[in-house]
Structure formats: C-alpha cells, structure tokens
C-alpha cells in the first residue's frame, strides 16, 4: 500500500461512487482516526477481497487522492529514510489488474516529478560512467534529497562504492549511506545490492545463499526484492502482483522502475499494457523510453582486466543499470537459463523464450558456441557471438543449445576440453543427466568421460559419482599417462588451464587416498600430493603451494622419526589436517588477513557470526575460517577428534577397557550367593549402561544428532569466545609479522588444541565425578541382601567392593588420560627431532653413511612455522655435504646454544660439526667451500646441482630470522654455525 501526502485536492470519485454497500461501509470505517494500524490493515484487506473491478478503481483513487484518507499515509512516495520492513502494512494479495491500477495511479499523481527523476537519474548515470567522484557524490546527494532513499539509489550507491575504491571521501560517503540503508544492521536487501555488484563473493553461491536465506521464512517483501535482484524481469501473475506491491512499499520511484522495465520489454501483455497506457501520462512513459533506450556504454565500466570474465562482471553490475532497455532484454534472455540446478524456478515464459531465441540466434549448435578464439573482452548486449563472447555468455549459450538448440554429434576430445575450459559453473547450473548428455558421460574416450564424471561429481557429491570419477581418472592416467597423475596435470596445464586447476582442487588427500590403483601405498599418496603441489606452484606461479609441498615432505619424515602414534590418547593427525588447511582455507584466509593489522581491533571484539551481513567483515571472515578449521579438527571422520572417538570409543575399546574382568576372579565363593550375585550383576549393569551412555552420547562431537556431546565445535559459546578473540588477534599479528600463511596454519592447529582443551577438561571432570559416583561400590553394597549375621562374609564382601572400586577407579583414571592432548604431536618440531630426521633422510642417499652422532646436551627447543623449514634446510645442506664429502663413519656433533636477549626475543645458535674424510685436509676443504660460495649469491636459489652451501649463506640475506651463518675449521672438523633471532 502506498498513500502519499500530496495532491489530494481533486478526487474524481466520492464514497457514493462505490457500488458495493459492504465496501462502502468498510471505507467509511477507515475515515475514523481512532483505529490502530492492525485494524486498518485488516479493513483494507477486506476491502481488497470484496471489491469488484470497478469498485477497486474507485477505492484506489479515493485512498490516493481524497483528503478524507490522508491520515492513512503509511509510505512516503519519496521516503526520507529507507523503508523498514515491519511487515504489518503489507496487504493481502489481490488481482494483478487492481494492484497495477493502484500503482499506476501513484505514478500519475507524481508524474511531473517522476519525469524530472528520469532526467536526474540519467545525469547520475553519466557521472557514474565517466565523471569524477565528486560529481557522483553530488548526483547521489541530489537524488537522495529530491526523490528520497529508494532502492534505485541504493544500487547506484553500491556501484559507486565499487567504481571508486580508492577515493576516501566517496568511500566514506557511500559507507554512511549504505549504513542508513541498513548494511550495518544486516539488512539483506542492502547486502544483496552491494554483494551482487561487488565481486568479493562468487555469484552463484552468493545467489543460492541469499535465496535460501529469504526462503527461510522472512518477510514476503524482502523475499520479493531479493528474488527480483537475481531475476528482475518476471512473468508469473501472482509473483508480479506481489512484486508490484513490494516495490511500491519502498517508494514510487521503485514502483516506476518495476512497471517501466517490464513495459519496455513487452512483459505486461496487451491487457495490462492497456492499463498502464490508460492511466500513466504518456509524458512519463515517453521520457522513460526515450532516455533509457540507449545502450549502456560498457567500455566506461570497470569490468576487470581479464577479458574472459568481463561479461560476468557486467552481468553482476547490470542490476544497477536495469532501467536500460538493452539490459532488461539481456536479463530477460539470460536469467531463466542462469538458474541453480537446485532451483525449480528456471522455467521460461513465452516472452523470455522468444527473447532468448533472438539473443542466441547465432548459437545453433555446440560448435558455434565453443570456439577456439581469443577473448575480445567485449560485452555483448544485443546478440550472442561465438567469436566474441566471454566465459559467462558462452556458458549460457551452452545451456541454451543443450536445452533448446539442435542436436549435434558428440563432442570430440578437443571440443570437450575447450568447452569446459571456456565455461564456468556447469556443475551448479545443469542437472547430472544434462551434464552427461553434454560432456559424453558414456563416451569411449576416457578424457571425455573423466570430464563428465568430474562435473557430475561436483554437481551431486554422491559417493557413487565419486567412485565413478576415481575409477575413470585412474583408468585414464594408467592408459594414457603411464600411471603418472602429474603427467596428466601437465597435459591439462598445457591444453586447458581451468581444467588443470580443477584437477588440482579435486586432488585433496581424501581423494588421493582412495586412488588405490595409482597409489598402492600411503607413502605414494603423500608423494603424489607433494608433487601435485609443486606442479601447481610452477603452473600457476603460487609460491604457497611449493612451501606446502616442502612442509608436507618434512612432516612426513618427522612423523616417521617420531615413530608410532600413541593410539590411545586423543589424536588429530597434523599432516592431514595441514593438508586440509592448505586445500580449503588459503583463499579466504589471505583475503581476510590481507586487510592488514586494522582487523586486530575488530578481532578483539568478535562476538558471533550472525548473518550474511557480518560475514563480509574481514575479522568475521577470519573467524569463519577458524570456525571451519575447528569443525574439521573436531568432526573429520578420517583424522579429526571424531575419527579418534570412532576408533577408540564407539568401536568398543572404551567398554572393553572398563568392563573386561572388572570383577576379580579370585572371589568366587563369596559371589556364589545368588542374592549377592544379583546385587553385583545389577551394579555391573548400571556401570555398563553409564559407559554405553558415555560412548553413545557424551564422548561425542556435539551435533544435531548428538546434542549431549561434550566436544562442542561451536567457537562462539561463552566458554570459548574469549579464547577465540585471542586467537584472532594472534593470527592477525602472526601474519603481520611473518607474512606466512604456513605459519598461520600451524598457529591455527595449536589454537584448535587450546579450544579443545576446554571440552577435554569437561570430559575429565565427568570421569572424575563418575569415579566417586557410579564407578564406586560402597563397602556394604554387596552384603545388603544378606539376612544372616555372618560378619566374616560381610567383611569379605566389603573387600570385594573395595577391590572393584579400586580397579574401576584406576581404569577410569586411565581413561581420563586418553582425553589429554598428546605432547609429541604438535605441528612444530624440536630441533633434535629435525636433526634425527635429516640424518635418516641423508642415509637413504648414502647407505654407508653411519656417523658417530654426538647429540646436543641440555635443553632442546620447539620450532614453529617457517622457522623449522629454515632449520631443516640448514641441517640438510650441512649433513648432506658431510655425507658426500666427509668421513662416512666419522663424528657428527650437534650442539645448541640458547641466549635470551629480551623478554620476547632470544638468539639460538645451532652448530653441526662433521669430521672430514681420512684422505682430505682442512685446508683443501676450506678451499673447496670458499670456491663453492664464491661470486654473487643472487643465483644461489635458482641454480641447481650445487652443494647448497651458497643457498645456506643466501638465507642470511633473505630470511630476517637468520642472523648469521658461519663456517669454522678445527681438529679435522668443519663446523657450520647457524644463528637465529627468534621469538621466545
């Protein structure tokens, strides 16, 4: 409903014009100023339901024009503050003709001002295309002051904020305005406008999450606007009626936009068109159509540097230019094909289908769509062109051909590769059957089948599709790439980089571990993962992947040196968790941390994730990464806490450990008494029931299915939130200091253990309580049923009770220890362990290398993050050279000195001295080393086949923690001393 405050002076009708008596009476009821808003809304709804076509027109006119009803004004036509959605003033639905008439009358009432609005909107658009930030600010201010804070203006503000990211004044101006629109109050409409235009979030998942959000029972008005944002030209009559009311609720300007955009693409149909032409002054219609029939100058828009993605950027921005006829036509042609495969709302109306046919008239078959051409970067607004389209329109064209085009022969292998490499999101946009039809799911060509299976699996995530994909991939790699997955990756890298990148993302450790034909042993799995990371680093110039590969190899080696895992104590595999972090958090983590240390302040105030609006803020994004990581840490069934619980608790170990032979075997006589035996049996049953309850309900990761689980993965609970704030600040500081995501990952692992400790304490406390409660048998318990006064038997039974209590207590105490963090499994490493690992590694190259190792005496220290990689590298270079050139059975002495410098810093000096070969001399060794390190250090990191000593010296220049690298020669020993300045 929209009743404004101006121009009510000349009503064409009176109450007497209404033919229906009940409607007339209800209208009279509205004259009273005493009714509350709810009562008024009820009456208006009753009037809507009871009005004939003729009466509806009269009622609308009276409500809009008669001063008698001026007191009912709920909505400003030109609101000074953005519309808030209480929902109470939304009226029941009615015939579309009635709603359209009402909204058209509103336009008519403000026609003159709306003509001026059209002109001002065009001027603002020109400023947004080519003007300065100041002219944009002036234009927005004018629009706000003249026409109010409308949805139309909201989208312009969102665009302006994106267009001028570095203009502080404009950013502040837009930020304040967006705050008024509710961005800070988590208003979904405000966020949809910003996030659709901005490209921080991928479009299809963003749309899915926003539509899921409004589907979750929010107001019909919000739901309408969100749905409209993603599909602005609409056809279903009920939907359009609802949309008309929703837009009208925001302002008359938004109502105008909705009516005119549909008018200029012929979406109303003849009957409704006639209503618009009859009521709305032609001056307004003409002004609109004349002004907005021009093409949007896409070359003036900032659509990004990558030509293949420019059309998607434009599509995302297009909602800000929806007043233009060409944009409306594009959206009408495209939107119904660009819907989620989970959304059933993609069925096209006849007009949409005709618009689509016209737009894609050049897309006859897949060959005309999938072309091997360089991207022009052009944005096609009128007609698809296979030679000029970007990735977005090519994707839509493929969907169009698949659903509406002519059948064509199966695609060749080259065409299939080209198709998937030049389209995006097919897994989200097509059904599994469509994907198989398109990509040759039943093809004899293994590469085509692999691509089809991969996209289907992306679409469904079903176990059976995962199995098919793994099967096809292995067959393909074995038959065409000699069983070498990396050769396949290289092949894709050379022929279809997006497909190659997809393979890289697909090959998580979880996926690789099940490629049993390619990798029959676990070592081969990790080696393949490391090689893939190295390939990814080279192919996509990503240093983080190379670092991750290196860390993976070191961790694998360290794990072997550490020996068997203590399989009883709670355990989370740091290597696998590290791989998960690498595979799943890099992008979001770097986006959140890149913002810089100013996040620190916000991080210290973090409270919860709330809804979508908060999710955009960097500290919340960081917290979300931490939350996801902690979920994985707790709930992963292969290496997380839940995996431990699955193996150790649910699998029967807990019960077996606590119950097997709990009752001592050497008391048979005393327990022969059937009443005593019954008492004991009852106690055991109670004990067993409690253990069962622990296993099935309490020693569980809390979830919907396990609401009583004591391990709660939610980081926003009152017990954890303070720790979480500290963790966020720590991660921000750590990244600021080291700029190393690997270091941040390791810190995240440590923090996960700290979060878990809170819950482990609760578990230990529950076990402690049980020891004195149901885990203890009172002294007189077993003799309770005895009637005879046999003190001797009673004493013996008391002794049995005591022994059972002691035994149960000991076992419960042991179980308490299961729920403590293992001390030797942090993702860090003591220096001594690194030393042992490297000696072992070098021995694999030089099997006859058996040095007399003299380990460091005294304290060791743990190294974290990048630091332990540096020390590993140092050990490797020194010990490798000692084995290669030195005495293979001689002395290898390792010493460690730690010197505290300040409260927060300390110097550590690591020395590895090795004995030279019997037939060598210190002088000769010195000369060889000096020769090896002579010349510029610049090429030290890039030239292979050297001793590595030059690289070692180069570390001093490159790594700020490395203070010095010295080489000393004495007593037939060469001593490499590595000096580091590190945090305490």
């Amino acid at each position: 409903m929209g009743i404004a405050s101006e121009d009510r002076s000349k009503p064409r009708y009176s109450l007497a014009s209404i033919s229906s008596l009940p409607v007339r009476n209800m209208m009279r009821g509205l004259l009273s100023r005493k009714g509350g808003e709810t009562e008024t809304v009820d009456t208006l709804n009753n009037i809507r339901a009871a009005s004939s076509n003729a009466d509806s027109k009269i009622v609308s006119s009276l409500l809009l024009h008669s001063p008698l009803f001026a007191h009912l004004a709920f909505v400003d036509d030109f609101p000074r503050v953005p519309r808030t959605l209480s929902g109470s003033s939304r009226l029941a639905s009615r015939k579309i003709e009635h709603e359209l008439e009402f909204q058209c009358m509103r336009l008519t009432r403000s026609a003159e001002k709306l003509v001026a609005f059209v002109s001002d909107l065009h001027r603002l658009n020109e400023a947004l295309w080519g003007g300065s930030a100041n002219s944009v600010i002036a234009g927005i201010e004018r629009m706000a002051s003249e026409y109010g804070l409308t949805l139309v203006l909201l989208r312009k503000v969102a665009f302006a904020a994106r267009k001028f990211p570095d203009d502080e004044i404009l950013q502040m101006f837009c930020g304040e305005l967006l705050a008024v629109y509710g961005a800070e109050r988590r208003n979904i409409i405000s966020l949809a406008a910003s996030d659709t235009i901005d490209e921080s979030f991928a479009f299809v998942p963003l749309r899915r999450s926003m539509i899921d959000f409004v589907d979750g029972g929010h107001s019909a008005t919000q739901a309408d606007i969100i749905r409209w944002t993603f599909r602005p030209i609409r056809f279903s009559q009920d939907d359009v009626e609802s949309q008309l009311q929703s837009h009208g609720l925001f302002s008359v300007v938004d109502s105008l936009l909705f009516i005119m955009t549909h008018l200029q693409v012929g979406a109303w149909g003849d009957r409704l068109n006639e209503i618009i032409r009859r009521i709305v002054p032609s001056s307004l219609v003409d002004a609109w159509q004349r002004t907005f029939s021009m093409a949007v100058p896409t070359e003036s828009l900032d659509l990004g540097a990558e030509p293949e993605f420019r059309d998607l950027s434009f599509y995302r921005q297009s909602i800000a230019w929806i007043e233009y006829q060409g944009v409306c036509r594009l959206r009408m042609a495209v939107d119904h094909l660009y819907v989620d495969n989970k959304d059933t709302d993609g069925i096209a109306a006849t007009q949409e289908y005709l618009a689509t046919q016209a737009f894609f008239s050049a897309a006859d078959n897949l060959s005309s769509v999938v072309r091997s051409t360089a991207y022009s970067g052009m944005v096609l607004l009128d007609r698809f062109d296979g030679d000029a389209a970007g990735m977005f329109l090519r994707t839509i064209a493929v969907i169009y051909v698949l659903r509406h085009g002519h059948p064509s022969d199966p695609l060749s292998r080259a065409q299939t590769l080209l198709l998937v490499n030049s389209t995006a999101n097919l897994a989200m946009l097509l059904s599994p059957a469509e994907i198989r039809r398109l990509l040759g799911g039943s093809s004899d060509d293994l590469l085509c089948r692999y691509i089809s299976d991969a996209v289907v699996y992306d679409c469904t995530s079903a176990i059976t599709d995962g199995y098919r994909l793994r099967h096809t991939l292995q067959e393909l790699v074995r038959s065409e790439f000699g069983g070498d997955l990396i050769r396949f990756a290289e092949f894709l890298g050379q022929n279809a980089k997006h497909v190659a990148e997809h393979l890289s993302g697909l090959c998580t450790e979880e996926f690789l571990i099940q490629l049993f034909d390619l990798f029959p042993t676990t070592d081969e799995v990790y080696e393949a993962k490391a090689r893939l990371l190295e390939w990814h680093s080279d192919a996509f110039n990503e240093q983080t992947s190379r670092d991750a590969a290196k860390r993976l190899r070191i961790d694998q080696r360290l794990q072997r040196v550490r020996g068997e895992i203590d399989d009883v104590r709670i355990y989370v595999d740091p290597v696998r968790f590290g791989i998960w972090l690498q595979d799943n958090t890099i992008e979001e983590l770097s986006a959140a941390l890149r913002v810089g240390p100013q996040v620190r302040q916000l991080a210290s105030q973090f409270t919860d994730f709330s809804d979508l609006s908060m999710a955009r803020q960097p500290h919340v994004r960081l917290a979300r990464v931490l939350q996801n990581a902690y979920n994985e840490f707790c709930a992963d069934k292969r290496y997380g806490v839940d995996s431990y619980i699955g193996r150790r608790i649910r699998h029967g170990t807990l019960k077996g450990f606590l119950l097997t032979e709990l009752v001592p075997a050497d008391f048979p006589e005393q327990l022969d008494n059937p009443r005593v035996a019954a008492m004991l049996d009852e106690w055991i049953k109670r004990f067993e029931a409690n253990v069962d309850s622990w296993a099935s309900e309490r020693f569980q990761v809390k979830s919907r299915k396990k609401p009583h689980g004591l391990i709660d993965p939610d980081l926003t609970t009152s017990g954890k939130i303070t720790q979480v704030r500290s963790a966020l600040v720590d991660l921000v500081d750590l990244y600021d200091r080291t700029k190393s995501l690997a270091t941040v990952h390791q810190a995240m692992f440590e923090w996960c253990w700290r979060f878990l400790e809170d819950d482990l304490k609760r578990i230990r406390s529950e076990i402690e309580t049980a020891r004195s409660d149901w885990g203890a048998m009172t002294a007189g318990y077993l003799s309770r049923p005895l009637k005879e006064r046999d003190d001797g038997l009673r004493r013996q039974l008391s002794s049995v009770s005591r022994q059972i209590t002691n035994e149960a207590g000991e076992r419960l105490r042991a179980v308490m220890k299961w729920f403590t963090k293992p001390t030797n499994l942090a993702p860090s490493a003591p220096i001594a362990l690194l030393f042992d690992a490297v000696v072992q590694e070098v021995q694999e190259y030089f099997p006859d290398y058996h040095p007399q190792v003299i380990p460091a005496a005294g304290a060791d220290m743990e190294l974290y993050g990048a630091l332990y990689q540096h020390v590993y590298d140092y050990f490797y270079v020194v010990i490798y050279n000692a084995a290669k050139h030195g005495h293979r059975k001689g002395t290898l002495r390792y010493t460690l000195g730690i010197d505290v410098v300040t409260e927060t810093r300390q110097v550590i000096a690591i020395s590895v001295a090795s004995q030279i070969a019997d037939d060598d001399s210190l002088q000769a060794v010195r000369e060889r080393i000096q020769s090896a390190v002579a010349g510029s250090l610049e090429d030290a990191m890039v030239v292979e086949r050297r001793s590595g000593i030059k690289k070692l010296l180069r570390m001093k220049a490159d790594m700020k923690e490395v203070v010095d690298v010295r080489i000393e020669y004495y007593n037939n020993m060469v001593d490499f001393i590595f000096i580091l300045l590190v945090s305490r």
Binding site: P520, T521, T522, D523, V525, R638, H651, G652
Partner: protein
Amino acid sequence: MTDVLIVEDDTFKMERLERCVVEVTSLRPRQAVSVQQAVQALRASNFDLVVLDMALPSHTVQAGQSPATSLLTGGLEVIMEVAFGNRTEKIVVVTQYPEIDIDDTSYPLNEAHVALTGLFGDRVVAVIQYESGGTAWEAQLQSVLRSS
C-alpha cells in the same frame, strides 16, 4: 558356498568372523584388512560372499610407511567395487557401529540395508550389528552363510 572374503581390520573380530565362516563352510576364508587390500583381492579372485566391516583403514599399514587413513565408510568402496565391476559376489555387512553414513545421511542399521539395496541392488544381502560380548550376530551371519 565356497569362497568367502572377510574384510576386517580388528584382529579379534576377524578371528571370530573366521570361526563363524569355517563352522558353516568348512573352508578357510580369504582375509583383507584394509580397503586397498580388499580391492586387490577382488581384482585377483572371485568370491561367493564378502563379509565386510564398514570402518576400515584405507591401506594395510606397513612398517616404516606413513599411517593409513581411517575411512569410517571404507566398506562402501568395496561394495562399489563389486557393484560397478558387475561382479557376482554377495555382501554381508558386519559392523560394530549402530549406523552407517551414506551421502551425508546417517542410517540406523535396520534402515541401512534398505538404503544400500536402493543404491547397489540386492547384492547386499544383510547388515548385521556386531557386538563383542554378544552372539546374536553369529546366528545371523551363519544364517546368511547357509542360505547363500
């Protein structure tokens, strides 16, 4: 019924399953202790029946090698090897867990059989809950062995 493959990583449970099979068939079953080993065994031979645990390690752990990954529904991989390889083996699942996760849904064991049949046809002949202290599972397994 001649050839049986037992896929089970718990030594104690393996012994009990083996005893149970021998009692009925008088033949020693083949054994696999990981998904990878089970897949290898299936590639090498044909069986009449596979007695299958659900939670299995990915690989058979070897000295000096990286640890295997614990796959809570690793048994499904073995079922799929049979189902998608158009093999003739019948399968009986014997698990200690009260439920089986299939495609992010947890099915209690009495419903899991229906779900597995829906996905893989009638080659999964029974889903039995194993209890270390109980014997009901033995009777059920023997019944399956006799009727197979």
